[in-house]
């Protein structure tokens, strides 16, 4: 663990990513304390440019809503949706991948066809259709993102399982009569964890991008302020109020970039051999 931390900290990009994500997470957690009023409230004159009024450092939108408050509250939605939808997708992906990789044969064939199907169809279009028909809410958004993002996880877990299954310690566990469920949970899965963790971090980043795309298209939860919604609302104001669309975009960009950097840092720190080989 210590060696892992040392390797991770040696990577400046990964450390910067961690700092940014920590800041965003702090904003998300403290949002109700920082801005007690709902970010939907009109609090000031409309279209105050940024950096002109210290009370509204990022300006206000065409209805006089505080953009800073929107950014802080939007962090909640982005992180929540990113983490939870990835969690669901990962659980399902591990289940499918583990069964396919462990059982092999026909079951593997059928499950991989199923996975391939979900990988072929256009993901964003599928998510849009799902949310539109189920009605926009945090649950339908998270569900839709999970539905379109589990296949790569399933493939990864399957290939890890297929190689690990051949190893001596797993063969030994089979010989001494451990049940398949126990072998999967105590022998194989712990050893497959590092690549799963790395790909999970990239999945969170993609999920945040997908969530922002959905809210941009007007499919966000009506009760939650989100960065994608802010950009969608600012679209028609681009000529008059550039700041309305610039700040939420920067927030998404920084958060997603930071999470990707963390993912790369984790990948290097968890696979030191790979790093030494020169990628």
């Amino acid at each position: 663990m210590k060696a892992f931390l040392r390797r991770y900290m040696r990577n400046p990009g990964a450390v910067a990513g961690l700092v940014i994500v920590a800041l965003v997470a702090a904003a998300a957690l403290l949002a109700p304390l920082l801005y007690e009023e709902s970010p939907w409230m009109m609090v000031a004159a409309p279209l105050i440019p940024p950096f002109s009024d210290p009370a509204y450092p990022f300006g206000t939108d065409m209805l006089g809503r505080d953009i800073t408050a929107g950014l802080v509250w939007g962090a909640r939605v982005s992180l929540l949706v990113g983490l939870l939808s990835t969690g669901v997708a990962l659980l399902f992906g591990i289940l499918v991948g583990a069964v396919a990789g462990y059982c092999g044969g026909r079951i593997d064939d059928a499950l991989m066809r199923f996975t391939e199907f979900f990988q072929t169809i256009p993901q964003l279009a599928m998510a849009v259709v799902l949310v539109a028909i189920l009605g926009p809410s945090l649950y339908s958004i998270m569900g839709a993102i999970a539905v379109v993002s589990w296949p790569p996880a399933a493939r990864l877990v399957r290939s890890e399982f297929m190689t690990l299954k051949q190893r001596e310690f797993v063969q030994a566990a089979i010989v001494i009569g451990q049940t398949p469920g126990r072998i999967v949970c105590t022998q194989i899965l712990p050893n497959a964890m590092s690549p799963i963790i790395v790909s999970a971090s990239f999945m969170v980043a993609t999920a945040i991008l997908t969530e922002s795309s959905l809210s941009f298209l007007g499919l966000g939860d009506r009760n939650q302020m989100s960065w994608g919604f802010m950009i969608g609302a600012a679209r028609t104001m681009i000529r008059d109020a550039w700041w309305m669309s610039v700040w939420p975009g920067v927030a998404i960009l920084l958060t997603v970039l930071a999470i990707n950097l963390i993912g790369e840092g984790l990948s290097d720190a968890l696979n030191p051999q790979l790093r030494r080989r020169g990628e």
Partner: protein
């Protein structure tokens, strides 16, 4: 003969995917809260009892589920994707009318991202391998990382802000200048001008993906024995890269490009929305606004068919170019 059976199996697979999408569409309507007929009618038509009743008979909603599915499938096979109540036109007509614009945009974005992505990937890999001008490699990889994290729709908006609003170089909306009545070459030039911003912003994300892929693939191939052999027998450094390394490094990139097309179709929804580009992506956004679910599902189906068809073409072309790949091989494993 072997090729024929390979071709048949791939076509069969493609048809299965399309069938899967149709079945998903069928169940989606029934998953939605409320009466399926009312869902199909959307908010606009829900007040019209006659229309809802017509939908009910059309889809046999009073019959068992399997009969309904059979009815629905028969409709799709007969190219009946439903009727858009909002636009008073069959869904298929609406989609077909919008297809050329989307084809044009996706083709340009695809070529742009692939060509520039491969080029930058090669440059970065060369700089890294030769250990000369390492900053080129750092600049290209960080640029790709940055683009990879940028929301597509936001990049499009920023493109409008910079090149249309501030600099005034390029048109911000639409595919042609409204009411210009240009013909021939002038019209083509006008469309080309409108095409620049959507192509570049849609292509940028995918360019980032191809840069990373090409670079990784080049660095992998560059260390292989046959490259050393080529060098040892005196092939020039430029030729080694072009004829030996790149040719082999490109194969995974091209397969992946085919697989990525589904994502690009999704990205087109966002780009077309921002630029008011008259393609099926914009149509999807309009269908969302109007809650026209028949149209929405029709677009989803057509987009899926396009993606599957394109994957089929790349698969077959790939097989013709590289005979080492056996039918049913696992080229898709890199995804």
């Amino acid at each position: 003969m072997k090729f024929l059976s390979f071709f048949a199996s791939r076509v069969g697979k493609a048809l299965l995917v399309v069938l899967g999408v149709v079945v998903i569409n069928f169940f989606l309507i029934r998953l939605a809260p409320g009466d399926p007929a009312a869902v199909l009618a959307g908010q606009s038509g829900a007040g019209d009892a006659a229309y809802v009743a017509q939908l009910r008979t059309q889809f046999g909603l009073d019959q068992p589920l399997l009969t309904q599915l059979a009815l629905y499938l028969r409709g799709v096979v007969q190219l009946d994707l439903g009727f858009s109540y909002r636009n008073h036109v069959p869904v298929l007509d609406l989609i077909v009318e919008r297809l050329p614009a989307t084809f044009l945009l996706m083709f340009c974005a695809f070529v742009f991202s692939l060509v520039l992505g491969v080029l930058l990937g090669v440059v970065a890999a060369k700089a890294r391998y030769r250990n000369k001008r390492r900053w080129i490699d750092s600049a290209v990889t960080s640029g790709a990382l940055l683009l990879y994290a940028t929301p597509l729709f936001w990049l499009s908006l920023m493109g409008i802000l910079l090149f249309s609003v501030i600099l005034g170089w390029l048109p911000a909306f639409g595919m042609e200048t409204v009411g210009s009545r240009l013909t021939g070459l002038d019209r083509a030039l006008d469309i080309a001008q409108h095409l620049v911003l959507p192509t570049v912003t849609l292509g940028c994300f995918f360019m980032a993906v191809y840069v990373r892929l090409t670079r990784a693939s080049m660095l992998e191939v560059i260390g292989m024995d046959f490259v050393k052999t080529a060098r040892a027998k005196g092939v020039g450094p430029g030729r080694v890269i072009r004829a030996h390394v790149l040719r082999n490094a490109l194969l995974p990139v091209i397969t992946f490009a085919g697989i990525q097309l589904g994502q690009m179709a999704g990205g087109a929804v966002l780009t077309e929305t921002v630029f008011a580009w008259p393609g099926i992506g914009r149509l999807m956004f309009d269908a969302l606004l109007q809650r026209d679910y028949q149209l929405l599902l029709g677009i989803f189906l057509v987009t899926s068919i396009l993606v599957v068809a394109f994957n089929l073409v790349t698969d077959v072309a790939y097989r013709l170019v590289d005979p080492r790949i056996a039918a049913g091989g696992t080229q898709g494993a890199s995804a």
